[in-house]
Every structure is written in structure tokens, then in C-alpha cells.
């Protein structure tokens, strides 16, 4: 197993990428009185953030790591940023989708005349800063910092409506997300720092040799469950509850940024703290595989029975997140490529579905699957995007999800985990079973059962355009999965060599 050493360069660009959306907050607050100016600033910040992230892409693809040290907050451990292939992939996904979501937010929030929109845009920007911070963290401490910032920044978004339902959901959200990170991740992290003397991510891990098998098992479970944003069962209940948030929040945060931060953290800890070598030797990742497979199947079964469209999507997300955790826990090269790719592919597919759900709500007030019979006649474009999005999430061509699931399947074979392969396939069938009937009944339900008649009436353009864009992106990603595939391969190479 030979690993080429990466070339390192120091640059402030990762910090800029993190700070762009943080520094725009005061501007957003001061332009609260003129919504158009405020939204222009949001879009500008989103575009700038994406450009800064994208400007580092050629360097990362060229085999560079970009580092920047912010402060030495503890002796031996500092707040440090480092851009590598895996982080780049995640940052690219989040920052590009923030642009689309910002466009969508304008249509959605104004369409529904939501209150406190300035607060909404401010905390949205803060969440994105934290997300990029997690993606670019060079050590566990920095990652934990941004993870917590994200937990807190999303609370006002989840509870945006400030009604009793939001209150109880917000409570659940905090208990699960903040509770687990303080009760499980924090002690596990201090323990590792105490025993190994470092927290900096390394391609081969840092725990090997200093932490015994029992301790490693406990620590791994503390991390896997403690990063509850990954919504592994039984720590998943916050995600369906968080669906009370305005739909753009559900779309970007609870299908992409927040939940992917959870799996991203698990991925990082497994590969760069424990190291695949150590996990293979101790043979403890099967436990994680099993948890992931269980979550995958059970959440899909629950999704089948959900009538609320957003809740159905939420349970689908829980299942898809487990694909990523499973891919990492397979400890095989293709598995890891599949896991990393699925972060991107699922993001584009699922955000499309959420955008559609929101567009349907704005245009017709429908929230439930049962109320969507025949809606394809009223909103054909939206439902076409919905169809493409579900293809991608199910993993059927020409959706980008096919590519990631293909790699995941190969990964199970490489790892000789045939039970997991079966679980993957069964779960994909279940995915089809909870998505395709929705699409089918939207377009092809018989005339008398149809709840919608009359002329085509789509959502406002600001709401309609984003799902079409992301649906198109899902298809494009099937044919041209670069640069995500290249980044995933680079990430796997740095860990497995070759």
C-alpha cells in the first residue's frame, strides 16, 4: 500500500471561503428594509463563495493540499483548515447548491409572505459558513467547532414559524443534535487527544497503536451515533421533526448541508482518525455496516407509510445517508468512492425533490402524497423534475445516483459483504416503491380520481427554475460525473493508495 505524499501549500483561500457568508451577515441585517438589496447580497455572497471554492479545485485535482492555520487554541491543537479532495467535493456540492437554494428562497419566502426573512437569510448564511468550515477542517477540534456552530445556526431556521409545532420540533432537534455531540463526541474527542496527543487528520489515521480494541469499539460507536446529524437509527427522529422548517431549509440543510455534515464527519473520523488499516485489523466496522444497513431498510419501510411528502422525503434521506456510512464502513476503495460520490449525487437528487415539494406547496397548498393525484396535469414541469430527482435517488439511469450506487455495490463485493449487497439492492427497490407511485399517480391516475383539472399552473418562476436546474444537473452528472468522480477517486487514493 503506497501512498503518494501530497504537496502542501499555504493559502488564505479556505478561510475566505468560510468567511464570505459570515461577513455578509451584517450587510444583510443592515439592508433589512429593502428586501431586493438584501437578496442581491445573499446571491452575491453565494456566487462569491462558490467561486472561491471552485478556484481551489484545479489545485486539489493537481494533487495539492491547501492549508491555513487560524489560531492555536490549545497547546498542540489549533484551529486549522485544510482543503483535500474529500472536503473539496463536499464544499463544491454545498456552495453550488447554496446559489440555487438562494434563488429558490426568494420565490418561496415571498410567495408565502413569511415573517422574519432577514433573520432567515442571516442564519442561512451562517449555516453555510459552518458547513464549509466542516468540509475544510484539518483536525477533529476544528470540525467539532464548526459542527456545533452549524447545530446552533440551524435552530432558528428549523423553528422559523415560532408556533407550538416549531417549538417542540426545535426542542427535539437540539436534544438530538446538541445533546449527542456534547455527551458522546466531546468526551470521545478529548479521550483521543489525551491518548494520542494529536487530532490532526491523517490519511492512515492517528489512533492505531495507542488505543486498544475495546476502547476503539466504544469510541467508534460514540462518534457514529454522536454525529447525530447523520441520522443513524436510533438517533434519527430529529430529521422528520425538522421538516416543520420552511422548505428551502429542508432542501439545502436537511437534504444536503446539515445531514451530509453528519456523514462527512463520520467518514472523516473513520478514515482519518481511526484509519482503515486499524478498523480492518480490529474488524469493528461490521458493526457500523450493520447499523447502517438496518437504518437503510427500516427507514425505507417507514417512508413507504408516510403521507406527508416532506416526511416521506425525510425518511428517504435517513436511508440514503446510511448508504454513505455503509460505503465508508466497507473499508474498500470502491466503497469509499461510492460513499463520497453519493454525498454529491444524493444532494442533487434530493434537493430537486424538496424544491418540487415546496413548489407544489406554494402553487397549490398540497403537503400530502394523497393529495397529489393528477397533479402532473397542473404542474407538469415540476413533476417531471420530481421524476428525475427520484430516479437519481433510487439509483436508476439517467440519474447521477446510479453512478454512486454502482460504486457502492462494487464496494460490497470488494469487501466480500454480500449481505450488505443484498441490503443495498432491497433498499433501492424500496426507494422505487415509495417514489415511483407518487409520480405515476401524478401523471397517469384515471380522470375521476384526479384532484386537479384545468390549465397548467406552475409555481412562480423563482420556485420553478431551481428544481429544473438541479434535475438537469442530476442528469448531466450521470453522463459527466467529473469532477466529483475525480475528487472521490483522489480521496480514495490518498487513503488506499494505488
Amino acid at each position: 500500500m503506497t501512498v503518494e505524499p501530497l504537496q502542501t501549500m499555504v493559502s488564505i483561500r479556505p478561510l475566505i471561503a468560510v468567511l464570505v457568508s459570515l461577513l455578509v451577515i451584517p450587510i444583510l441585517m443592515s439592508s433589512a428594509r429593502s428586501p431586493n438589496v438584501r437578496e442581491a447580497w445573499t446571491l452575491g455572497a453565494a456566487a462569491l463563495k462558490f467561486l472561491v471554492v471552485a478556484s481551489m479545485l484545479p489545485l486539489v485535482l493537481g494533487g495539492f493540499q491547501i492549508e491555513y492555520s487560524i489560531a492555536r487554541v490549545l497547546p498542540g491543537y489549533g484551529l486549522e483548515l485544510r482543503v483535500d479532495a474529500l472536503g473539496m467535493l463536499f464544499a463544491l456540492v454545498s456552495s453550488s447548491l447554496w446559489i440555487v437554494t438562494s434563488i429558490y428562497s426568494i420565490g418561496y419566502m415571498r410567495g408565502l409572505k413569511e415573517h422574519a426573512q432577514t433573520r432567515y437569510y442571516c442564519f442561512f448564511a451562517l449555516s453555510l459558513s459552518a458547513t464549509i468550515g466542516v468540509a475544510f477542517s484539518a483536525n477533529l477540534l476544528t470540525m467539532y467547532l464548526f459542527y456545533e456552530v452549524l447545530s446552533l445556526a440551524t435552530y432558528p431556521l428549523v423553528t422559523h414559524h415560532q408556533d407550538p409545532e416549531a417549538r417542540s420540533s426545535g426542542r427535539k432537534y437540539l436534544v438530538f443534535i446538541l445533546g449527542t455531540s456534547i455527551a458522546m463526541v466531546l468526551p470521545a474527542m478529548v479521550f483521543i487527544a489525551q491518548k494520542t496527543g494529536t487530532l490532526t487528520f491523517a490519511p492512515q489515521g492517528i489512533a492505531a497503536g495507542t488505543i486498544g480494541p475495546q476502547a476503539a469499539t466504544v469510541l467508534l460507536l460514540l462518534f457514529v451515533f454522536g454525529f447525530a446529524k447523520a441520522a443513524l437509527m436510533p438517533f434519527h427522529a430529529w430529521l422528520p421533526a425538522a421538516m416543520v422548517a420552511p422548505t428551502p431549509v429542508s432542501a439545502l440543510l436537511h437534504a444536503v448541508a446539515v445531514v451530509k455534515v453528519g456523514v462527512f464527519c463520520i467518514l472523516r473520523v473513520m478514515t482519518s482518525i481511526f484509519g482503515t488499516g486499524m478498523l480492518t485489523d480490529l474488524n469493528i466496522s461490521t458493526a457500523v455496516c450493520t447499523i447502517a444497513a438496518f437504518t437503510m431498510i427500516v427507514s425505507s419501510l417507514i417512508a413507504l407509510s408516510q403521507d406527508g411528502l416532506k416526511r416521506r422525503l425525510a425518511f428517504s434521506t435517513i436511508g440514503q445517508l446510511s448508504y454513505i456510512v455503509l460505503g465508508a464502513a466497507l473499508l474498500s476503495k470502491s466503497g469509499l468512492i461510492g460513499a463520497a460520490l453519493h454525498i454529491a449525487m444524493h444532494a442533487f437528487g434530493k434537493i430537486t425533490l424538496f424544491f418540487c415539494a415546496g413548489a407544489i406547496f406554494v402553487a397549490s397548498g398540497v403537503k400530502n402524497v394523497s393529495g397529489m393525484a393528477g397533479i402532473g396535469r397542473r404542474m407538469p414541469l415540476t413533476m417531471a423534475a420530481f421524476f428525475i430527482g427520484s430516479l437519481s435517488v433510487i439509483g436508476l439511469p439517467p440519474g447521477g445516483g446510479f453512478i454512486s450506487k454502482w460504486h457502492l455495490a462494487i464496494g460490497t463485493v470488494e469487501a466480500h459483504q454480500f449481505v450488505m449487497l443484498a441490503a443495498l439492492l432491497v433498499s433501492s427497490l424500496l426507494n422505487a416503491a415509495y417514489f415511483l407511485p407518487v409520480v405515476y399517480r401524478a401523471f397517469f391516475c384515471p380522470e375521476p380520481e384526479s384532484l386537479f383539472t384545468g390549465p397548467v399552473q406552475e409555481a412562480p418562476t423563482w420556485c420553478l427554475l431551481p428544481p429544473l436546474l438541479t434535475a438537469a444537473a442530476s442528469v448531466v452528472l450521470f453522463f459527466y460525473p467529473q469532477p466529483f468522480l475525480d475528487l472521490a477517486r483522489l480521496a480514495a487514493q490518498s487513503i488506499f493508495g494505488g
Binding site: A71, V73, L79, K113, Q162, P187
Partner: protein, 503 residues
């Protein structure tokens, strides 16, 4: 002048206190500027001294030129140099914040308030820098007596809870005095360094252990370590808000400093940790303080009382961290003295601002505060995050050392208590935020943009007075700055303050 700095730290506020008392009868406008200038001078002197300690090592000063053991010696090293800066800064910030509120609250007694404030600060700073065990007692009494008077300035039950504090505090101080008396009988000296030099030749001795236990017990009363905490919650709750934001951040912290000083500089590390069996029992007391303090906080209905019980729990953090007896734990304890002083200042100032505006700090009446006092609430959120231990606020970093020390010492009970307390703090503060954030009067989608008038009755922004608000925000920012620089503070100051050769 430069050589006289240690004396000036104490002398300037002491003399200013007399001046303020006199001036109140002549020109009241001068009282506040003189008071703040005096505390500012103490702060400047403390900072200068700390810088000198950092570059040249410990500074010795003999009052009146009399060398010890006859005369009183002041000795500033890394430990008290750092804490003196923190204490004088807290006192300075709080004084800068309190003018509007104090003058409205105390009216005719404002002059007395400023004088007592200065005397109290004098006492605490004196405790910090003195190198004489009996002089420490004298200064302890100065700060305590002024503390009683300050607490008693409040309305209603304040004087009763202040009286309770007088009784308990007197018992604590007497126990400490008794311990010092034992030491004097054994060694014939009152100077800390002198006693430390004589003691080893007398060991093992039950008398010395007795002296140590008496001193510690007295200090435990003064720092409100559970189960000796009974005086604290009511005293802090019913005190005027500008008094509780002075006393709550400082008193317990300074007492913990005295515990550390007496243990390390009078009795020595080896004696305290190896020759007595005190380590584990005190550690368990600390665990108990953390757990029960947190649970008691959970059952409170008033903001200030809830915060007071958090202070009780935080005392357990520091006592436990110190008695872990390793480098991480002790660093955590000292760092937490600094951090907790500012965190407590932040939340008590915010509580003061809320009490000033809302005139009621019962939790259920705090609705709508995020709208009416957004800046105050933002500062309270930062203070709360620090108490919960969310990075990059400073509270996270001291907690890091404490947990790390607990793991290193194999004291998982202490680690569990810390985590438990963090979780409870999370519940405590988010319960408050929930009440402040979710308003029964605000229906969803009710108004379109901020420019339209908010729901009737909930009113527009009515923030705290400008001086209070400025200081409050500065303190909140300081919590984050302290967090980012905590690595520097620990490696450059605190590690040098601990006994060398500590594992």
C-alpha cells in the same frame, strides 16, 4: 513609581473609596469618574505587573520596607498576576456598566455604593497579591464586610439573605483564621514562603493536617462548595443586579485562588496530595457540587437564581479540576477561574439588563425578549454557549482541560459530571431562549417584512442603557477572544504558575 506597583494596586482603590465617600457631600458628579479612574489604575497596574512577571519572573514587595517574616510581603507570580488582571478587569467592566442602573436604583446611596464597590475590589485584589497568610485574612474580611453591605443594598429580602451570608461567611472566615492560628502555633510565622520553608521539617504531623483541613473548610464555606453553599443562591438573587454582577463573578473565583495558593505555596503539593487522604473526598464533593448544583439550577423559576446555582456548579468544576492533581486538571481549574469570571459577568450583566427593563426576571415572563432586547439577548446567548461549552467560546477550552485531566487521572466520575452539567446547562439556557423566542402573541406569517409593524403589544426595541449594553457586548466578544487565545494563556502563563514537574 514602578517599584511601588504592587502597593498601588491596593492603595489606589482604598484611598479612592475614602475620597468618594467624602466627595459625595460636596460634588456628586465627581464620584463616578474617580471610582472608575481608581479601578482603571488598578487594572493598569495589574497588567503592568503581569507583563513584568512574564519577562522577569515573580515580583516581591515588602510593605513599608520591612522584610518578612516581620513585615508583610506581597508576592506576584504567574498565578496571581494573571488572576489579578482578570479580577480588576471584571471589576472595571462592571463599574463601567453600572452607572445608569446604579444611580436609578440607589439614588441617595449611590456614593456609598461606589465607596463599597472600591473597598470590595481593594479587598479582593489584596487577597490575590498578598504573601502573608494573616494579611490575607484581614483582606478577606474587608471584602466580605463590604460584600455584605453591598448585597444588603437591595430591596425586599436582600438584607435577610445578606444576613445569612454574614453568618455563614463569618463561620468560614473564622475557620480559616483558626487554621492560620494553628500554623502560627506550629511554625511561629505568618509569611507564606516562610511557613512553607519551615513545615517540611515538622512533618508528619497531625497538627499540620488539622491546620490544612481547617483552612480548607473555611475556604469551602467562602467559595460555596456544596454542601456549604447555602448562603449563595439567595444572596446573589436578591442583591441589586449591579452588585450580583460584581460579586458573583469574583468572590467564588478568588476563594478558589486562595485554596490553590494555600495548598501549593503554604503546604506544598506533595503534602496536600500524598500525605493527606483529602484528594478523593474533595473530588467527590466537587462531583456532587457539579451534579446537584446543575439539578438545583434546573428547578429554579427565576433567571438570577438559576444563574446563581450555575455558579455553585461551576465551583465544583474548579475545585475538582485542581484536586485531580495533574497538569491538565490544574491548568483547567486556573483557566476556568479566568473564563468563568467573564462568563458569569456576561450572564449576570445580561440578567441585570433584563431585570432593569422588564423589572421581573421570572422565567415565564421573559417572552418576546429577542425582539425587544436583541443585543442583550445576543450577548446572553454567547455567555450561555460559553457556559454550555461550545467552541470557540472560552468555556469550551477550560472544559477541555478539565475533561482531559479527568481522563488522565482515570476519574471518569468527574468527566461524567462535567458532561452532565454541560447538558443541563444546555437545557437551562435553551429553555430560557425558547421562552424569549416563541411568543404566544406572534402568529406565523402574520407580517411580511420587518418594516411593517410587529404584532401589537410586543412593542419595538427597548434596549438596556447604553453604558450597560456596550460593556455587555464587549464582554460577550471577550468570551470569544479569550477562547481563541486560551492556548497562549495556558502555555505562556498558566503552565508556569503550576508546580514544576507536574505530570
Amino acid at each position: 513609581m514602578k517599584e511601588q506597583l504592587p502597593a498601588l494596586i491596593v492603595a489606589v482603590p482604598l484611598l479612592a473609596a475614602l475620597l468618594v465617600t467624602a466627595l459625595w457631600w460636596f460634588d456628586r458628579r465627581l464620584c463616578f469618574p474617580i471610582a472608575i479612574a481608581a479601578v482603571g489604575a488598578s487594572l493598569a497596574a495589574a497588567v503592568t505587573l503581569l507583563l513584568r512577571v512574564l519577562s522577569e519572573g515573580a515580583v516581591d514587595y515588602y510593605l513599608g520596607g520591612w522584610p518578612p517574616p516581620v513585615g508583610i510581603a506581597y508576592r506576584i507570580d504567574h498565578l496571581n498576576g494573571l488572576i489579578a488582571v482578570a479580577v480588576s478587569l471584571v471589576s472595571f467592566l462592571n463599574l463601567a456598566a453600572c452607572r445608569t442602573v446604579a444611580e436609578q436604583e440607589f439614588r441617595e446611596k449611590t456614593g456609598a455604593f461606589y465607596a463599597l464597590y472600591l473597598l470590595f475590589t481593594t479587598g479582593l485584589l489584596g487577597i490575590l497579591i498578598t504573601g502573608d497568610a494573616f494579611n490575607l485574612y484581614v483582606l478577606l474580611e474587608i471584602s466580605s464586610l463590604t460584600g455584605y453591605a453591598l448585597l444588603g443594598l437591595g430591596p425586599g429580602r436582600a438584607f435577610l439573605s445578606g444576613l445569612n451570608y454574614v453568618f455563614m461567611g463569618t463561620v468560614g472566615a473564622s475557620l480559616y483564621l483558626l487554621g492560620i492560628g494553628y500554623l502560627y502555633v506550629i511554625t511561629g510565622s505568618l509569611n507564606m514562603a516562610d511557613i512553607a520553608a519551615i513545615l517540611p521539617s515538622l512533618l508528619p504531623s497531625n497538627l499540620v493536617i488539622m491546620a490544612f483541613v481547617l483552612c480548607l473548610t473555611g475556604l469551602f464555606v467562602k467559595m460555596a462548595l456544596l454542601p456549604l453553599h447555602g448562603w449563595l443562591p439567595n444572596a446573589y438573587t436578591y442583591a441589586p443586579s449591579m452588585v450580583s454582577s460584581l460579586i458573583a463573578p469574583l468572590t467564588t473565583k478568588v476563594m478558589i485562588y486562595v485554596m490553590i495558593r494555600i495548598t501549593l505555596s503554604v503546604f506544598s503539593f506533595d503534602f496536600a496530595f500524598d500525605e493527606t487522604l483529602l484528594r478523593l473526598p474533595i473530588l467527590w464533593l466537587a462531583i456532587l457540587a457539579i451534579t446537584i448544583g446543575s439539578l438545583m439550577a434546573l428547578s429554579q423559576r427565576r433567571l438570577k437564581k438559576m444563574l446563581s446555582y450555575i455558579v455553585v456548579a461551576e465551583v465544583g468544576y474548579m475545585v475538582g479540576g485542581f484536586w485531580l492533581g495533574n497538569r491538565s486538571g490544574m491548568s483547567g481549574a486556573v483557566l476556568h477561574i479566568i473564563n468563568d469570571a467573564f462568563m458569569t459577568l456576561c450572564v449576570f450583566l445580561a440578567a441585570g439588563a433584563i431585570a432593569f427593563k422588564a423589572e421581573d426576571d421570572r422565567l415565564r415572563n421573559l417572552t418576546g425578549l429577542f425582539r425587544t432586547m436583541p443585543a442583550t439577548m445576543a450577548a446572553l446567548v454567547v455567555g450561555a454557549l460559553s457556559l454550555i461549552g461550545i467552541p470557540p467560546t472560552c468555556g469550551f477550552f477550560s472544559k477541555w482541560y478539565l475533561i482531559s485531566g479527568g481522563i488522565e487521572a482515570g476519574q471518569y466520575g468527574f468527566v461524567a459530571a462535567l458532561i452532565f452539567s454541560s447538558l443541563v446547562n444546555g437545557i437551562l439556557f435553551f429553555r430560557v431562549f425558547e421562552i424569549c423566542y416563541f411568543e404566544p402573541t406572534s402568529p406565523p406569517h402574520a407580517y411580511r417584512y420587518r418594516r411593517t409593524v410587529p404584532a401589537a403589544g410586543t412593542g419595538a426595541v427597548t434596549e438596556a442603557p447604553a453604558d450597560l449594553l456596550t460593556v455587555l457586548i464587549a464582554t460577550a466578544v471577550l468570551l470569544i477572544v479569550l477562547g481563541l487565545y486560551s492556548g497562549e494563556i495556558v502555555t505562556r502563563v498558566i503552565h508556569l504558575a503550576l508546580p514544576p514537574g507536574l505530570s
